[in-house]
Every structure is written in structure tokens, then in C-alpha cells.
């Protein structure tokens, strides 16, 4: 029997409570489902950090648990609103089916546009555009590298094409036809009309952006260059004239079924013919010189050099290794000087012909023995290669081209495959590392694995907005500001925080090594100090531990490239992003929900709206269990007693504070009625006195009085559901408080407000900070804040409910006062100080 059922069973039959009972119970079930989904999402995010070992079975049970909780949410929403939300139900079923299909077939094909311009591509889209194009898009858009214009024909488009050609790309075992037959089918099939149209549109767009002479049409298979290196196995066609683009597309797709690919796939234990091929179309660079760069020498990773090979004309000669080319070794340290060079006798160069196709042209005798590239250009190649390595956090293999003006273009980026050697065991690494002083060890929790090196930069209120690049960020708390600086950081460490928190999630997304909840990192680490953060073993060393850094760069493939991780990442893309942000916006509709997170946010909002405004609440305003609470402050609070929430009252219509038995309400009232909690003088808020002008601003700055009949408390001895509308704020508190800690919880929700959105969002920041400092898990967007805590002791509950009582008084005017970001921290501190002063020495959180 559920908790609420137990409470509700005690109701006297003549109360008008049947409706309340049903709806409240559904609301609670909806919250449960909602919380469960948020927890599962957080947990799944945590898995991506690499600390955990999980398998396909975990993915299956994750998908099943999510689906079950999603159904619970939608089902209960139907009960609360009395409407049939068919559209939401459909969405849940569609997403659930896609997720299941992805796990079963081990083939992830997110629905996407057929053709995607390269400037919209980034690393998160690997499942859509393939690894090769995802990386190119990433270094172009996020690192600012010069990459040729182009577009990608997505995996989704490939599936449509294959299916229209009568090929099932999920057939795994024993292809019914010979490979030759499959290839023939692909090459002879008509492309679907829509795909042809989209590719032509893409070409036209490229034409518009500075014209095309010829194209490079490149394979970008899913999983290519990843766990198993398919480098060079799939087709890439260079020098394609725009009118031959469609044929080249088919040629590249057909290479899915080439003999050596299938043999290789079998050898790797992969289903031989399963798969899809996203294909990139890039403008050919009329290259003066081209080649390849390795950020490390794979044969001697310990030598501190970048390897560059170069040929005249296109880099094809280098890639194929068909003719002698120049090779250079450069230092990995600026200014990247050349330490070794071998200039070859280069007889010919590949260039792309004006009408398409490639030509091999002889190099004049006088130039054959001169280097294909100058030292300055080499330094530029090395700098770009190392920048990409730093960003990707792995050794890199780059293909580059210099155009006739000598500008450097990056045409391919992939992790460098280091041949397998004896793994440098923990012993060797630890011996090397033991030469460095340990600053922190075993403290805190690893939120994202990895190794990072840089100078410590302590982020606090006073530090400048932009930290130096490649810094090791150290902070007291995981603030949103810290999260915003992560992209450039080499590692992050916080004193407080959890592996499921917001910052941890962002760190994993950006693959920044992260250790949280360390306790006193801000005390132990000094600004500007050089440190190496080993978030594999949870140790921070003073200085630069080269052995660890190199080991990390040369790991053959990291956990995140394995299929299970890719699957989980792509499932999360279907689940976790939140697009429905503003409940007031006309876009806040069921139709616009595209992820599970959208759906629960939408359902939650609709349910709460019904709870606040629904006619069901007005029905029982008279009756034996209804009292008005007499308070000295202007809150008109109506109490509905579900049983044992009140002592006997003299007046059947009114209750005094002393009459309240309900434990959570008593605690909350203690806070709300404590000195200074309600009547806050706005001028107090201002650290410098410039708020004085605001207080003269008129009606808006007067403390907002409650309207009559807006505030409702539904209570029993242990349970409280409080629905407040103070001024323009909506506040819901739903909680249970008893001796058994496993049943205890507080749910806090705050939204709405009279000022413009920036102040409201500041208020949301203040609320979240305050709640988080009392261990609540918070989420929210815009001006909405939801805080949850559960399974804490009776005393901890009482402390927090008192705090919330105070918070209700405090927040009434916050949004009006928060004119300035600087006031955010001030408000938080001021509130925490109030709570501290009030309770110092009295309770557990007096310590704070």
C-alpha cells in the first residue's frame, strides 16, 4: 500500500475528498515517474564517464525502466487532467521503439536530415554523419580550423537508399547474396528522388559559396577509425565533377560490401555486411602541396616530435605511399623547429583536372629535390596538429593541404593508431609518477576519467570571466560559470559536487577529466601551480608527468569509442536534451516534444497547472476538515486535513498555529514565522547602497501580499502538500516527514514572477544555490526551479523545512531586487547567514 493511500484511508467518508485523493495520488505518481526518469538519466550520464563497467544488458534494462516510468507519467497525467494525451503517448512509444531497435540491431540510425551542411556538423553527430565527418565538422566549427566547405549525406539517407535498393542494412549473418551482387545492386539502383534533390541542393549551395571545380567524396562509415580501424578500406573518390556526384555517392556506399571490408569485419568479430555509410562531399582544394601529420611518432611515442610527410600537389601520394615523399620531424614545443628532414626526389604530382578526375603531372627537374613545403608552413602544420590533439585528447593523424596561396586546410582528422606493444603496466607508470610530489590522492570522486595537465586556475567570484586556456580549473562549488569555462580547460576539480551533477555531465560531454567532491582542493592547490591531474587513478601531482600524459595520448582506443558507449551516448541524445524551455511560450506543446525529457517537463507543467488552477480544489472549501490558518503575516492559508494534521480547534472554521499537528507544516511555519523571515527590508539586500533607488521605484518593490483564496495546504500528521501563490510566484512544496528516513522526502517547485526574465533567472540561480547548499538536487530552466531531496533523517528534514519556511519569505521580493548579477552571490550569502545566525549551535546545519 502506498504511503498516500495509507494517509488517505484515514479520511472520514463525508469529506469532499474523493477527487482530491485521486488527483493527489496521481500527482505523486507522476512526480515519482518524473524523478525516476531524471535519476535514470543522471545515472546513465555517469556511466559515460568511464568509471563504470556496463554491458548491453544494462542498456536494455535502462531502456525498459525508462519506458515504464514514461508510461507512468503519461498515464497519471491523463488522470489528473481528465484528458487523453494521445499525442504524448505516441511520442513515448515512438522513442521507446527507436531505442529498442537501436539496441537490438546494434545499429544506430537517428532520424536526421538527408543532407547536412558541414557547418552544422559536430562531434555529437557521429551517429548521423559518421566519425570522419563529425570530427571534421568539430575542428572546423569549434576549433576554427580551415576545412573545405561541404556537406554530408547522412546515415539515415543511406538506409533509405539501401532499402529502396532492396537491401536490409540490419541483415547481419550470412548475406543471402554474394558481395558482388550487393555491390551491383547499389551501383545500379536509382537514388530515391528526394535524396537526389537534396544532394543537388547541397551542390548548388556549394556553388553559391565560391564555386566548385571538383569534389572529394569521402566515406565516413560508422565506427570507421574507432574501435576497429577501417582506415583506407572504404572508398574515397577524389576529383569528382559535380555532375558525377551521384555516381560517386553510390560508389562509396557500395564499398560497404567490398571483399576486403567484409573479411576485415569478420576478423574483428563484426557482422560482415551490417552497417551504413554516411558520405561527405567536400570541395577539392587545388593543392600546391599536401600530406599527412602525426602528432606523435607511433614507433617512438616517447620522443617529443611531430611527424610530417609532404608531397607536391594532392596528398594522395603520401596517403597511398606509392612514390617517395618528403618527411620531417619537428619538435612538439613551439616554435616547432625541424629537427630532422629527408627530402625525396619527387618525380610527379597528383592534381585534379578541371573537368574532374586526377592527373599525374611531372615535376620540373629543377624542383624535384626541393622541399614540398617551407619550414614556416611546417610549423603551421605542427601547431594545428597539436591543437587538434589537445582538443581531442588523443594522438592524432591529420591530412592537410596547402592551397596556391599557401593557406593551410585540414581535410581529414582521426585518432592516430599506435601499434600494439607491451602495455605500459601500472607499475611502470606509477614508478614514473612517484618521482613527482602528490598534492591530492584518493580524495573525492572521479566524474570523468582522463589525464590533464596545466596550471591551476582557481575560479571564484573575483576571478575574471575567461580563464586562461588549458588551465586546470579548481573551484569551491560546481557553478554554472565554471561549466561555461570547461571547453578550454584541461581538467576540473571541485571541493563540493557529485558525479551526477550538472558540471559532471558537461565535463563528460566535453571529455574533460574531472574530480569532484574533493573537500579542500581550493586550499591545497595554488593559483598558477603546474599540476597533472590523473583522473584515472584519482591523484593530482605537482609538475608535468610526461609519462602519464603520453600514455593517455597513445592509448590505442579509449572506452568512449566502444560500441556500448556509442550506443549509450546516442540513446541519451534521444532521451536527455531539453528543448521545451519556456512554459509561457507558444512552442510549449505536446507536438514539440522530441525527447523523454521534453515529455516529462511538459507533463509536469500541465499537471501542476491543473493542480494550481483546477476546479477540483475549489469544491471542498467548506466541510468539517477545512480550516483557515490564523497567521500574523499576510498569507491566507486554507488547510484541508486528511487526518491527524490538526489538533481539535475551538472554532470549526479557524485554526491557530498551535493547533497544527502536521510535522512538516510545523517545521515550515517555524522558519516562516521566525524573526526577520517575512518582513525583509529591501535596502538590506544591497551591498553598496545603490539599491536605494530601486526601493523608491513604487508598487513593485513593496513586499508582495498574498491574495486571498490562493494558498492551500493539504495535510496529515506526516504529509504536507503546500500550494502557494504569493504575488506572482507559484510555489509547491510536497513532502513527507516521519521517523523512517527511507520514506522522507521534500519536493520543492518555484516558478513565475513579475519582473523581466533576466531577473527571474537570477532568482532561479539564487534559489538553486541555496537549495544545493542544503544538499537538494536541483534542475530547472529559465525561471523554473525544482529541488528534490529524499531519504534523510527526521532532524535533517526539520532543518530543511525550517529553511524552506524562511526561503518562502525571502524569495517574495528577490526577483525585484536582483538587478545585477553581482547581487546573486550576495543574496545567497545573506540568506545562508540568516539561517546560520538563527540556528547556530542549535542544529546540524549550524555548522555551515
Amino acid at each position: 500500500m502506498s504511503l498516500l493511500t495509507r494517509i488517505l484511508r484515514r479520511l472520514t467518508p463525508h469529506d469532499h475528498s474523493a477527487v482530491i485523493r485521486e488527483r493527489l495520488e496521481s500527482f505523486k505518481a507522476l512526480l515519482r515517474g518524473n524523478n525516476r526518469i531524471l535519476e535514470l538519466m543522471a545515472e546513465a550520464g555517469e556511466m559515460l564517464g568511464g568509471e563504470y563497467v556496463f554491458d548491453t544488458q544494462y542498456l536494455r534494462s535502462l531502456a525498459a525502466d525508462l519506458e515504464k516510468a514514461m508510461h507512468e507519467v503519461v498515464y497519471n497525467l491523463q488522470i489528473i487532467t481528465g484528458e487523453h494525451h494521445a499525442e504524448l503517448l505516441n511520442k513515448v512509444q515512438t522513442i521507446a521503439a527507436e531505442i529498442r531497435a537501436a539496441i537490438d540491431s546494434r545499429l544506430v540510425v537517428p532520424k536526421a536530415d538527408l543532407v547536412i551542411p558541414l557547418d552544422r556538423v559536430n562531434l555529437d553527430m557521429a551517429e548521423v554523419v559518421g566519425d570522419k565527418m563529425a570530427r571534421l565538422g568539430e575542428v572546423r566549427e569549434r576549433l576554427g580550423c580551415r576545412v573545405p566547405d561541404g556537406f554530408v549525406v547522412s546515415a539515415y539517407a543511406c538506409r533509405q537508399f539501401l532499402e529502396s535498393a532492396g537491401i536490409d542494412p540490419t541483415t547481419a549473418e550470412n548475406p543471402p547474396e554474394t558481395l558482388r551482387e550487393l555491390r551491383r545492386r547499389v551501383e545500379n539502383a536509382e537514388l530515391p528522388k528526394e535524396l537526389t534533390r537534396e544532394i543537388r541542393k547541397g551542390l548548388k549551395e556549394l556553388e553559391r559559396k565560391g564555386g566548385i571545380s571538383t569534389l572529394a567524396v569521402r566515406s565516413s562509415a560508422l565506427g570507421e577509425d574507432g574501435q576497429t580501424s577501417f582506415a583506407g578500406l572504404y572508398e574515397t573518390v577524389l576529383g569528382v565533377a559535380p555532375e558525377d556526384a551521384l555516381a560517386a555517392y553510390k560508389q562509396v556506399v557500395a564499398s560497404l560490401y567490398s571483399d576486403h571490408v567484409v573479411v576485415y569485419r569478420r576478423r574483428c568479430g563484426l557482422p560482415p555486411t551490417q552497417g551504413l555509410m554516411p558520405v561527405g562531399f567536400l570541395k577539392m582544394i587545388p593543392a600546391h602541396a599536401g600530406g599527412v601529420a602525426y602528432s606523435l611518432d607511433p614507433a617512438r611515442p616517447e620522443s617529443d616530435i611531430v611527424l610530417v610527410s609532404a608531397s607536391r600537389g594532392l596528398g594522395k601520394t603520401v596517403v597511398e605511399g606509392t612514390a617517395p615523399v618528403d618527411t620531417f620531424e619537428l619538435s612538439r614545443q613551439p616554435p616547432y623547429s625541424v629537427v630532422e628532414r629527408r627530402i625525396a626526389d619527387k618525380e610527379t604530382a597528383y592534381t585534379s583536372g578541371p573537368q574532374g578526375g586526377l592527373r599525374q603531372t611531372p615535376i620540373p627537374h629543377s624542383e624535384r629535390r626541393s622541399p614540398a613545403i617551407t619550414d614556416q608552413q611546417l610549423a603551421e602544420v605542427a601547431a594545428a596538429t597539436l591543437m587538434i590533439e589537445r582538443y581531442m585528447k588523443r594522438a592524432q593523424d591529420i591530412e592537410w593541404a596547402l592551397d596556391r596561396e599557401g593557406r593551410l586546410h585540414i581535410v581529414q582528422v582521426r585518432p592516430l593508431a599506435i601499434p600494439e606493444s607491451e602495455p605500459p603496466g601500472g607499475r611502470m607508470l606509477r614508478e614514473a609518477a612517484s618521482r613527482y610530489p602528490v598534492l591530492l590522492a584518493g580524495q573525492g570522486v572521479v566524474a570523468c576519467r582522463g589525464i590533464g595537465y596545466g596550471r591551476v586556475h582557481v575560479v571564484d567570484d573575483r576571478s575574471p570571466a575567461d580563464p586562461p586556456p588549458q588551465a586546470v580549473l579548481v573551484a569551491r562549488t560546481p557553478t554554472p560559470r565554471l561549466a561555461a569555462s570547461l571547453a578550454e580547460a584541461s581538467a576540473v576539480i571541485t571541493d563540493i559536487g557529485t558525479a551526477t551533477g550538472h558540471l559532471a555531465a558537461i565535463a563528460r560531454e566535453m571529455r574533460v577529466p574531472a574530480i569532484v567532491d574533493v573537500g579542500d582542493a581550493t586550499r591545497l592547490l595554488e593559483e598558477g601551480q603546474e599540476v597533472t591531474v590523473d583522473a584515472e587513478e584519482n591523484v593530482v601531482y605537482r609538475g608535468k608527468v610526461d609519462e602519464l600524459l603520453r600514455f593517455h595520448l597513445t592509448q590505442r582506443f579509449s572506452f568512449e569509442e566502444r560500441l556500448e558507449y556509442r550506443l549509450l551516448r546516442s540513446l541519451l541524445h534521444r532521451i536527455a536534451p531539453l528543448h521545451l524551455v519556456e512554459p509561457e511560450s507558444p512552442a510549449f506543446t505536446a507536438t514539440n516534444c522530441s525527447t523523454y525529457h521534453d515529455i516529462i517537463r511538459f507533463a509536469h507543467e500541465v499537471a501542476v497547472r491543473e493542480l494550481i488552477t483546477g476546479s477540483w480544489l475549489r469544491a471542498p472549501r467548506t466541510g468539517s476538515a477545512i480550516r483557515r490558518l490564523l497567521l500574523d503575516i499576510p498569507i491566507d492559508l486554507v488547510l484541508i486535513d486528511l487526518g491527524d494534521g490538526l489538533w481539535e480547534t475551538q472554532d470549526p472554521r479557524k485554526a491557530q498555529v498551535e493547533n497544527v499537528r502536521c510535522a512538516p507544516l510545523r517545521a515550515l511555519l517555524e522558519g516562516l514565522l521566525s524573526e526577520g523571515a517575512w518582513a525583509t527590508d529591501p535596502a538590506d539586500m544591497d551591498p553598496n547602497g545603490f539599491m536605494a533607488s530601486a526601493t523608491r521605484g513604487g508598487a513593485l518593490t513593496r513586499p508582495l501580499a498574498a491574495r486571498p483564496e490562493q494558498n492551500l495546504a493539504i495535510l496529515s500528521l506526516e504529509y504536507l502538500h503546500l500550494n502557494l501563490k504569493l504575488g506572482y510566484h507559484f510555489n509547491i512544496i510536497d513532502c513527507y516527514l516521519a521517523d523512517e528516513r527511507n520514506h522522507n522526502y521534500i519536493y520543492f517547485r518555484f516558478a513565475g514572477g513579475v519582473t523581466e526574465i533576466t531577473r527571474r533567472s537570477r532568482r532561479a540561480v539564487v534559489l538553486r544555490k541555496i537549495l544545493e547548499s542544503f544538499d537538494f538536487i536541483t534542475e530547472g530552466t529559465g525561471d523554473l526551479v525544482i529541488g528534490r531531496i529524499k531519504k534523510i533523517s527526521r532532524n535533517e528534514m526539520v532543518d530543511r523545512l525550517r529553511m524552506i519556511g524562511r526561503l518562502i519569505g525571502f524569495t517574495r521580493q528577490l526577483d525585484i531586487l536582483l538587478r545585477d548579477d553581482a547581487l546573486v552571490e550576495h543574496s545567497v550569502k545573506r540568506f545562508l547567514k540568516q539561517v546560520y545566525d538563527e540556528t547556530a549551535g542549535k542544529s546540524a546545519w549550524g555548522k555551515r
Partner: protein
């Protein structure tokens, strides 16, 4: 530091074998990994290990059968069972069969490494 212990890892999901091998090797264990339980049993017949880390549900002999095999044939070897389905019955049976520890999946790698360390100590003591 010398070899920390000889470990056999058995799980039909390659990712579990790979990640455990990687992590245990980094902690100086010598590791052999198998995705088929029949092959693992063949190997167990050939040589002794300090610790066997095995999945519960697999095609062919299950984790419990591996546990019984080890009990009967390999003195001192400790067995850690990792599983996504931890039913009370199977846990009880494993307990009865002398399992060193039952670990639900997913698990933190550090947790497993420290269990393997403890199990190795116990194994070496019992073998003496």
C-alpha cells in the same frame, strides 16, 4: 612491484572483458579473459588462478557452474560473480557455493579492483 595476482575474467560481453583486462593489467594483475565459458573451463583445468571473475548468465556453463567447478577442482581460487540479474535464489546458491563476492552490474572499476586484491590475498593464504 611483482605480479599482483593471476586473474581469469569470463563474460560473454566483450566490452566487460576488455575493460576489466585493461584496468586490472594497469594494476599489475596478470589477466586472461574469455567470452565463452567452456573455453574458460578448459583453461581452468590447465592452470591455477588466484581469482576468477565471472558473469552469471551465459551460453553454456553458467557462473554458478563455474563456481562449482572451481570449488571442486581449484584449491584456494576465489570466485567473484558479476551480474545484471541478481535474483535472491542465485545469490543464495552462490553464497552456499562459497562465492567470494556477488557484484551487480554496472559496477565501478575501482570497486572490482579492490575486491580482486582482497580475493587474491585470501586465495594465496588458502593455498599455503
Amino acid at each position: 612491484m611483482s605480479n599482483q595476482g593471476d586473474v581469469l575474467v569470463l563474460d560473454d560481453e566483450p566490452i566487460v572483458c576488455e575493460r576489466l583486462t585493461e584496468h586490472l593489467q594497469k594494476n599489475d594483475f596478470s589477466v586472461e579473459a574469455f567470452t565463452e565459458s567452456s573455453k574458460a573451463i578448459e583453461r581452468l583445468a590447465e592452470r591455477t588462478f588466484d581469482v576468477v571473475v565471472t558473469d552469471l548468465k551465459m551460453k553454456g556453463p553458467t557462473g554458478l557452474e563455474i563456481l562449482h567447478y572451481v570449488r571442486d577442482h581449484a584449491l584456494g581460487t576465489q570466485v567473484i560473480i558479476i551480474t545484471g540479474y541478481a535474483s535472491i535464489d542465485s545469490m543464495r546458491e552462490a553464497e552456499y557455493g562459497g562465492v567470494f563476492e556477488f557484484v551487480p552490474k554496472p559496477f565501478r572499476m575501482e570497486r572490482l579492483t579492490s575486491l580482486v586484491k582482497k580475493a587474491t590475498r585470501k586465495a594465496r593464504k588458502e593455498k599455503r
